[in-house]
């Protein structure tokens, strides 16, 4: 039985706008009390540190422990886009065990076999094996009939359906959003309506099926309006975004920077500002890293031949702390977006600092300055479009289930 007493820190409690000075006690891996010192406890000094729930990263493409440790991620929902695809119970069971004990991986089950979008995968068996949700993967499912059947099935199993929203016909072989930048560079591009169109269909299917649908990345003004309407109607929907679309617009691809090739592609500045507004007004429920480390074999290529994706785990917290400093949201809201809401969507008993919960905690120095450097990242690859930018916010300690996780 390990007793830990974290002293001199500020604890971010659920519902509070900001962290308050108090001590926090951990007993047998669980949060046991606040402000009641216990005998024989190991003391952890958190002077000048913010004690927050460990980040729950909804939708990563790789289990990348060093990067998650750096970024303060204690749990990650792993996308089914693996090799082999996570479309059967065995692969799900394996993935769920892979990170333990210091990282909990919550696998997402492929909605269709081989993620091909045609035949339903064994969703119920995968749920029993540990899947916490069902995902369409990197792609949209074009067949509306299949999509409706998946949603109905998942509604019955009480599993969230995590969807990628890009109408495949409109997207075609596009690698960028229709824009002057894409035209200047001669890159194939698609209208941003590609996303709204896919979301419009899936909202109707969500209404039809009663399923909980989570739109993993919503990145345009029009899409966000549709989400607002759907929420106003009372649909069981939620949506997320990654820092790429919050802090970069499509002029980041100038000079054919493949690190800024994302899926969906970066949008123009007005859409980016609409995303920030949707963070402020609560339309967006989740901020995730979309962590997708890609080495030179995938990125040191001509732009349209490069794979999309960014290594985002290490920079997620530091970048999103900007939203607090810019007074767009409070610290309390930030950790709802990073931990509480992802846990709620995935049905996990985690994501808040409350008595009886697993002590998944990060001790953050929110002001510690550092510079993002793609050559010195702990991730499997350094493909960040935020290379060389200065940021603030560093995780000093991370506890998973009451145990200190070392790098």
């Amino acid at each position: 039985m390990t007793l830990i007493n974290i002293i001199n820190g500020h604890v971010q409690l659920p519902g509070a706008d900001k962290a308050e000075a108090m001590s926090l006690q951990i007993n047998d891996g669980k949060i046991s009390s606040f402000g009641t010192p216990i005998d024989h406890a190991v003391e952890l000094d958190a002077t000048d540190l913010l004690i927050a729930p460990g980040i729950i990263d909804l939708g990563v493409f790789k289990t990348d422990k060093p990067a998650f440790r750096f970024g303060g991620i204690t749990r990650a929902a792993l996308m089914p886009d693996q090799s082999p695809v996570h479309d059967d119970p065995a692969t799900i069971r394996y993935a769920a065990l892979k990170g333990k004990p210091d990282l909990w991986v919550h696998p997402l089950a492929a909605a269709t076999k081989d993620l091909a979008g045609s035949q339903m995968a064994e969703i119920a068996l995968m749920k029993e094996a540990g899947a916490v949700g069902v995902a369409t993967g990197r792609k949209w499912i074009g067949d509306s009939g299949i999509m409706l059947r998946i949603m109905r099935y998942c509604a019955a199993l009480d599993l969230p359906v995590i969807v990628h929203s890009e109408d495949a016909g409109l997207a075609g072989n596009a690698v960028a959003t229709e824009s002057e930048t894409a035209t200047l560079l001669g890159l194939s591009s698609a209208s941003p309506v590609t996303e709204a169109l896919a979301i419009a269909r899936d909202l109707m299917l969500a209404e039809e099926s009663g399923a909980h649908v989570h739109f993993r990345q919503v990145t345009t003004a029009r899409s966000l309006d549709l989400i607002r309407e759907g929420k106003a109607k009372g649909l069981r929907i939620s949506c997320g975004i990654t820092p790429g679309h919050l802090f970069l617009s499509n002029n980041a691809i100038i000079d054919f920077r493949t690190f800024a090739r994302l899926s969906p592609p970066l949008r123009d500045e007005s859409d980016r500002l609409a995303c920030i507004a949707a963070i402020a007004d609560g339309t967006i429920d989740v901020i995730a890293s979309g962590h997708d480390p890609r080495g030179p074999e995938d990125k040191r290529l001509p732009f349209s031949e490069a794979e999309p994706g960014m290594a985002g785990a290490e920079t997620l917290l530091a970048l999103t702390l900007n939203l607090v400093r810019d007074e767009i949201i409070t610290t309390g809201r930030l950790f709802e977006l990073l931990a509480t809401n992802p846990a709620r969507i995935l049905g996990l008993k985690a994501g808040v600092i409350t008595e009886g919960f697993e002590a998944d905690l990060i001790l953050v120095d929110p002001y510690a300055p550092w510079q993002v450097d793609s050559n010195r990242m702990t991730a499997l690859a350094g493909n960040t479009p935020f290379n060389k930018i200065p940021v603030q916010g560093r995780v000093r300690h991370m506890l998973k289930g009451g145990k200190v996780v070392t790098a």
Partner: protein, 331 residues
């Protein structure tokens, strides 16, 4: 018409060489005076090329130029090869079809290989936008873009500008109509940048599915009706329509395309009486251009474009290798 464009003494900046780029990757990164400098230099090579059987200048003697063509080409490759040889360089051609690219080697590895062979200039054509810029960052010698995807084809725009200058006396003030598959055309992009930079009025005509987004931001007027764009035109530049885009994805059929966007005598009559007809080649006769228009002895400048191509490429190879050759004022 003869060469009448004057270069004022202040056309070029003082105190440094006239072309400070290591590579020639695109027109969009060039200043007006840099474009004019290349054209002025090319004029010299036009004269040499017409001077008789001994068209040889040995200034690149001993240098190795690699033409690395990852996409098929006949005329551009030949034009670069002749340009290099007339300047005395050893020119070798690498075709993608017979290279290790087919065996799965990455573009960067191929570039490193070419670099290790100590080329003095590499000319690259590639089907992907940005591929040439990517290679240019990995090699030591100057890189010339011979066309990358839908991005840029700078030497084509330069030879077009030279053709217009020689035939019309100047590019400034000319009304140039560019018609065809602008969306996928690197020729159109480079030409828009070049012509706008030199002060021409550019009108762009394309079927809606083949008109790129936001092209007006680059200073071109856009039209979907060819007839509306032609009145007052000094130059009509037709673009090649790729075969694979004729089968219903972008346009219904070659026949319908010709009906709306083909340049025939009736349409040409809408332009100025002395309007020039241009085409980067190879032409699809009867798809984008009528044979009698293409072959029109006074109006068509299509073969002259090919001639200017060699001169412009000689100028580019000469200018970009001056630093390594230690030419006075350039080293």
């Amino acid at each position: 018409m003869t060469w009448t464009h004057n270069f004022a003494a202040d056309s070029f900046p003082t105190g440094s060489d006239a072309f400070q780029h290591k590579h020639l990757l695109g027109i969009s990164s060039l200043q007006k005076w840099e474009i004019l400098y290349i054209l002025k230099e090319a004029e010299h090579w036009v004269a040499l090329n017409r001077s008789g059987p001994a068209k040889h200048d040995g200034r690149l003697s001993g240098m190795t130029i690699i033409n690395a063509f990852f996409e098929n080409s006949t005329r551009t490759l030949l034009s670069f090869e002749i340009a290099g040889k007339r300047l005395g360089a050893d020119v070798v051609n690498m075709h993608a079809a017979q290279s290790s690219v087919k065996k799965g080697e990455t573009l960067i590895d191929t570039a490193m290989t070419l670099n290790a062979m100590r080329a003095d200039a590499i000319v690259i054509r590639h089907a992907s936008s940005g591929a040439v810029q990517l290679i240019s960052g990995k090699v030591d010698c100057p890189v010339l873009n011979a066309g990358d995807g839908s991005h840029e084809h700078p030497t084509q725009a330069l030879l077009d500008a030279l053709t217009i200058m020689r035939r019309k006396g100047a590019v400034e003030g000319q009304i140039v109509v560019i018609c065809g598959d602008v969306l996928h055309s690197r020729v159109a992009r480079s030409n828009i940048f070049c012509l706008k930079s030199l002060g021409a009025e550019v009108r762009v005509v394309a079927p809606p599915a083949l008109m790129p987004y936001g092209i007006a931001a680059f200073g071109a007027q856009t039209f979907s009706n060819f007839d509306d764009a032609l009145p007052g035109a000094d130059v009509v530049m037709m673009l090649r329509l790729q075969n694979e885009r004729m089968q219903g994805d972008f346009i219904p059929s070659p026949r319908e395309y010709y009906h709306l966007f083909g340049l025939d005598e009736r349409r040409l009559a809408l332009a100025k009486p002395d309007a020039l007809v241009m085409h980067p080649g190879p032409m699809n006769r009867g798809v984008e251009i009528a044979s009698n228009v293409a072959d029109h002895i006074e109006r068509s400048a299509i073969t002259e474009q090919v001639e200017m191509g060699v001169a412009v490429r000689m100028a580019c190879l000469d200018i970009l290798t001056r630093k390594s050759r230690g030419v006075e004022g350039w080293a």
